[in-house]
Symmetry: C2
Subunit: 350 residues, 2 copies
Amino acid sequence: MRIDQLESPAAVVDLDKLSANINRLQSYLAEHNLANRPHIKTHKIPEIAHMQVDAGAVGITCQKLGEAEVMAQAGIKDIFLPYNLLGGAKLERLMHLARRVRISVTGDSEVTVRGYAEAAQGAGLALPVLVEFDTGLGRCGVQSPQEAAELARIIARASHLHFGGLMTYPSNEQTDGFVAETRRLLAADGIPLEVVSAGGSPGMWQAHTHKEVTEHRAGTYVYGDRSMVNVGVMSQAEVAFHVIATVVSRPTADRAVLDAGSKALSSDGARGSTGFGLILEYPEAHIEKLNEEHGWVDLTACAAKPQIGERVTLLVNHCCVTNNLFNEIVGHRNGEVEVNWPVAARGLLQ
Amino acid sequence: MRIDQLESPAAVVDLDKLSANINRLQSYLAEHNLANRPHIKTHKIPEIAHMQVDAGAVGITCQKLGEAEVMAQAGIKDIFLPYNLLGGAKLERLMHLARRVRISVTGDSEVTVRGYAEAAQGAGLALPVLVEFDTGLGRCGVQSPQEAAELARIIARASHLHFGGLMTYPSNEQTDGFVAETRRLLAADGIPLEVVSAGGSPGMWQAHTHKEVTEHRAGTYVYGDRSMVNVGVMSQAEVAFHVIATVVSRPTADRAVLDAGSKALSSDGARGSTGFGLILEYPEAHIEKLNEEHGWVDLTACAAKPQIGERVTLLVNHCCVTNNLFNEIVGHRNGEVEVNWPVAARGLLQ
């Protein structure tokens, strides 16, 4: 079957480009002696996670426990979960996972770390815990090297925890300084920094400039999207992921309506451009608005205009959230369908 | 089990409020002799669709064929699909459905209508087709009563189509004039307007003021959300749908981070307010930004501030897209869990 026979809207992945994206980042990170630990939030598909590991990744990154459970069930052996896990139910599931695969987590507070310590002690397991630090993003993470060192000491002292190092997102110009100062503070206690894990696709080709970082986590690079093209880290030709949509209405001379709305594409914008995706066949068209199942396209700037029933290919704003809205992703090679992947780890928010 | 024992983030529906919302709109529409045809896009759950039909709805509205298939399989007998369905594969599925349930569709172009005509003739079925018209929203729909009448005549003349009337979204002050003029144009041909279907939750309590309208389609009303409260059609106490989240980080005195981000809540805004939802326990808190699995909360305006591990209840911006991101919706009565509903028709974009 060809992808032009798929019912729309369809989310399709070019398998050759997917492999090329996986190999390109892997080669770059290997060249710079950086461990590669790709974030599976983008695809949530076990087979793609295995492709990443087979290419040389040391393991994967998941953002939610449910994702990690799916990946462990699919045979992934080394999972990093850089999230504060709180509450008895989640800690119990974490311990179940820790018996079967190597799983490491993060904390940015004593509350979180105490929970890990009690759970690991109760289970009789040694759990690696990294300290999350904030270098300006303003999301999670301890705010100073002093706080990082203090939390690291609590982890190192806990009988069933292992201090695994430091984690931040994204890598930036403050990362090295923060890490170096934390390292200095911990040296007095004889506590080493095994891993310094940083991440992000927008900054992936600068990963080697952060000399204190030992591991890079990137997610979006595997597919690519309009944001990645706009920030200049991938070319449009390298993007592996697209949504195929159909023009279902042409109510006026300058308007088209697509069968892909916010429930197919998400309402996320792209860095560096307006609208809700780029129509490859009509780059002058502007997807100006989305309703849940309708994409509103302004054709004013288009010389040629699509007809009712015509299929178009969308470079989406944000592939991670778009992928998350589809039940299945279709893998193809030169337009020939090879695989239908259920998005196995989607919707596992808990 | 109590909802405060559910792992977060969880999407919960108060079953008493859900019933009250269903009955309130049903009573109002019945009082005004308007048929009620609720839109299931909000919940995508067969049991809730049955509750709506049992309360007196004439049938349901679906936006995608896949949704209609799920609802037909669950025993719903009368489905309106107000969408231009194009292409052989979709028309074949439509005909399969039409053998099993009463299904009606819309078109806003001759291309769409010709497809219906051929498919219905091939299947030997009579398919009701309504003409979609635009009264200013600027999405789909014919632009003038003349176009509406012309398309209606094509439908009426087709051997296996039945002209079912007119459809628009949303109901507004131009609706009656458009319909009256179309009725006048068609009277000469002896073509009656059986159904005039209009819709929307924001305008639901004005449905009776559109004298030409015979049927109302509302979706969001069944749950309610921050937009509905802001536009004044529901009170906050009437909202049945909430997301329970946990504070997973308190990195600074004025910042909290929730375990619900854009993959739980969507990036949709609410009419009439900024931010990404209202925290009922901390109404002064501002959910200023979402990443995929993190909600960034500014606590500057809060006198009391939530602790790490504390659970909070979110009035979400847009319940339809939020519901669509969860695998399961938990139904409870006074906090006691009664049912876990799989969101059966989610992700069925084709």
